[in-house]
């Protein structure tokens, strides 16, 4: 059975070496599929949250998380020993979610612009306890162009650092900083009544 492990944000975000995790990876590589439970229970909450942040749909987020973990299991032989599992599974789920969005956009022939960001799910899946401030922030982030939105969400909501976001999105750290800077300027403008304008 999966042990329900409510990992702290710190352990799931930072690339710390976890000896139990390393043993689990080695066991899975050696053919013990049961040891994969530990990795799933440790990272699934974050993986689902990342997927949901991109697709904004609970059902799709769950399917993407499932696909990401199965894909990671299939290719675990290529996983470098000693590396933390987190960044790898986060990268897989981010790529799967972005691929899904691109596929849907192509299918719908939608054009993503500042004015008309991609239509993605709805806000029905927002946490129930979300207050008005959070809803305003969510709306402002959602109004950003695709890559700015992705980087802003990973930085602001998921609390990943620039290097981690670069690894997950296969962008350079400089590009991540650039997207975040552009996003910050737009968010500051759109949330000026809550946080004050640039010149305050």
């Amino acid at each position: 059975m999966f042990a329900m492990q409510r990992e702290s944000d710190r352990t799931a975000t930072r690339n710390e070496t976890d000896p139990i995790e390393q043993r689990a990876i080695a066991a899975v590589k050696g053919g013990n599929a049961g040891s994969y439970d530990y990795l799933v229970s440790k990272y699934m909450k974050r993986v689902v949250s990342i997927a949901w942040g991109i697709v904004r749909n609970a059902h799709d987020a769950e399917d993407l998380a499932q696909e990401a973990f199965v894909k990671a299991f299939q290719t675990i032989a290529r996983f470098k020993p000693g590396e933390p599992f987190g960044p790898w599974i986060y990268r897989i789920v981010t790529n799967l979610a972005l691929d899904l969005m691109k596929h849907r956009q192509r299918f719908r022939h939608e054009e993503i612009t500042d004015a008309y960001p991609a239509a993605r799910g709805d806000r029905a899946d927002l946490p129930a306890a979300t207050n008005e401030l959070a809803r305003r922030i969510d709306g402002a982030i959602e109004s950003l162009p695709e890559m700015q939105r992705l980087v802003a969400r990973l930085y602001l909501v998921e609390h990943f650092e620039h290097a981690e976001i670069a690894s997950m999105t296969r962008l350079s750290e400089g590009t991540v900083r650039s997207h975040l800077s552009l996003a910050r300027a737009k968010l500051r403008q759109r949330l000026a009544d809550l946080y004050g304008g640039t010149h305050e």
Partner: protein, 102 residues
């Protein structure tokens, strides 16, 4: 407020936007993953289970075929001209024995 202060305050406030799925997901999702992983494992084990005996059978057949061909070729060589030339032969005609040697 500086840009950095704004970003840090926004980061604190945006944290509550992290997705919180229904509690059932934490048992449903691992169960689905476990099922898919088990299927993968079973498929590879099944392949390995069939692949090894089939490979062994083919190897045995190939070895038997190679040995048979070698044996046949060896048998044929006894009747070749060279083989007859190398072995002495004795022919008896009318009580006299003649020997044909190299």
């Amino acid at each position: 407020m500086s840009d950095n202060d704004f970003l840090e305050r926004l980061r604190d406030d945006a944290r509550q936007l992290r997705y919180e799925p229904d509690a059932a997901l934490w048992t449903r999702l691992p169960a689905k993953i476990r099922q898919r992983v088990a299927l993968q494992t079973n498929a590879s084990q099944l392949l390995a289970r069939w692949f090894r005996p089939i490979t062994a059978s083919f190897l045995i057949l190939a070895l038997a075929a190679a040995l048979s061909v070698a044996w046949l070729e060896r048998g044929d060589s006894a009747y070749s001209v060279e083989a007859m030339g190398q072995n002495s032969m004795e022919i008896t005609v009318g009580g006299d024995t003649f020997s044909i040697a190299e």
